[in-house]
């Protein structure tokens, strides 16, 4: 059940960290350091799918090391992220009330 709960927020978590260009491994590390560990088999294909859906753009860069694909939010992705973040805040506010038995 916890896995399903986490699955629902992975997209939002990923979008939240891609305001600037980041490559997959760097993104996974950043998320893990902030307590949102995502399996490698889930995260990397997700980046591709989000790019195919137009939420992300990508670019091959070297930045002094091996070439890596870097991802960041597209304009559409930024708008989607803002919408999802708003929905998330409303949802957590509702859930907080439900869990406290106030609703």
């Amino acid at each position: 059940m916890e896995l399903e709960l986490r699955r629902g927020v992975i997209v939002l978590a990923v979008l939240s960290q891609l305001d600037t260009f980041r490559y997959g491994y760097e993104l996974r590390q950043a998320l893990a350091e902030q307590g949102m560990a995502i399996e490698e088999g889930t995260l990397y294909p997700l980046l591709r799918r989000l790019e195919n859906q137009g939420a992300l753009i990508s670019d091959w860069r070297t930045d002094g090391g091996s070439p890596r694909r870097y991802y960041t939010l597209s304009d559409d992705g930024r708008a989607q992220y803002a919408r999802l973040a708003r929905s998330w805040r409303e949802l957590t506010a509702t859930m907080d009330k439900l869990l406290e038995g106030e609703l």
């Binding site: 088999g41 889930t42 990397y44 997700l46 591709r48 091996s66 070439p67 890596r68 694909r69």
Partner: protein, 285 residues
């Protein structure tokens, strides 16, 4: 194989399962990702650990593509149920045929001649379910749930009259066509019973068409005659040949068995409706 070779082999296995246009790009990215995950480690076991986290190549490749669902999960139980029922019927008919036409090795004959070929049934069923799922996704408006029409017993006279003419023509053809050479014993003993019941059934059908609807009496007569015709046909086929020529006899028996199976399903449905109707009447009085 060293760690890098293992990763390269894994990437190649994933890439060959991807569409050609994205193969090189995904492979290059996957390779850098796996090497990033491997970091400074160099042992083959470490590479295996990194690869295991990505899953089998087929799973890893599937995650890079849009999910493809051929059989809707909601249909899986119905698919399994009808597959098993259909195969059980085919297998049972095969066993019955084995008793009727004994061979030196009945188990092998049944296995090779009935059990293995019976896999056509789940195959056909799967294709039908997959087609249904595709049409629902393609035209969702048409797939919207609609309540089934209330059964008022009303008959469309035009259509049913045309069907009646067709059935009467078929019955006359069975009797009058000169090239149908019936087995003499069937013609003398079992044939008249089959013909009498077929005519009785046509009379009930004609009465329902004349009235413009099925009523309780014609509905129950229809069920009873269906059962009687079915029983007599089973007896007529089990007791011996229907036609003098073997291949004609086999073909007709096969067609009659298919008709009997369809009729049996129809009778079960009609019986259930009658029982529902009966209990509704009892509870309302």
């Amino acid at each position: 194989m060293n760690a890098t070779q293992l990763i390269d082999a894994y990437v190649a296995d994933v890439a060959k399962r991807l569409p050609r246009r994205q193969r090189a790009d995904v492979a290059a990215e996957l390779r850098t990702i796996l090497l990033d995950e491997l970091g400074d480690r160099t042992r083959p076991e470490d590479a295996h650990q990194v690869i295991d986290a990505f899953g089998r190549p087929a799973e890893a490749a599937a995650r890079y593509r849009s999910p493809l669902v051929l059989l809707d999960p909601a249909d899986s139980r119905a698919f399994l149920r009808w597959s098993l029922i259909g195969m059980a019927v085919i297998w049972a008919l095969g066993v019955a045929d084995g008793f009727a036409n004994p061979t030196p090795n009945p188990a092998a004959t049944w296995w090779l001649g009935v059990a293995i070929p019976s896999l056509w049934w789940p195959g056909v069923l799967f294709a039908a379910f997959a087609l249904g799922a595709y049409t629902r996704r393609k035209w969702p408006e048409r797939a919207r749930w609609k309540p089934s029409a209330a059964d008022t017993g009303h008959l469309n006279r035009g259509w049913h009259a045309a069907a009646l003419v067709f059935y009467i023509g078929g019955t006359i053809a069975l009797v009058a066509l000169p090239w149908l050479r019936y087995d003499p014993v069937f013609h003398a003993q079992r044939g008249p019973w089959v013909l009498a019941l077929l005519i009785a059934h046509l009379v009930v059908y004609a009465a329902a068409i004349a009235a413009g609807r099925w009523n309780t009496l014609t509905r129950r007569l229809d069920i009873a005659l269906n059962l009687l015709v079915g029983g007599v046909l089973v007896w007529a086929m089990a007791a011996g040949a229907l036609f003098t020529e073997r291949w004609v006899d086999d073909m007709v028996k096969f067609i009659v068995i298919v008709i009997l199976l369809v009729t049996a399903a129809d009778v079960v449905q009609k019986l259930r409706r009658e029982l529902r109707q009966h209990s509704a009447n009892v509870s309302s009085t």
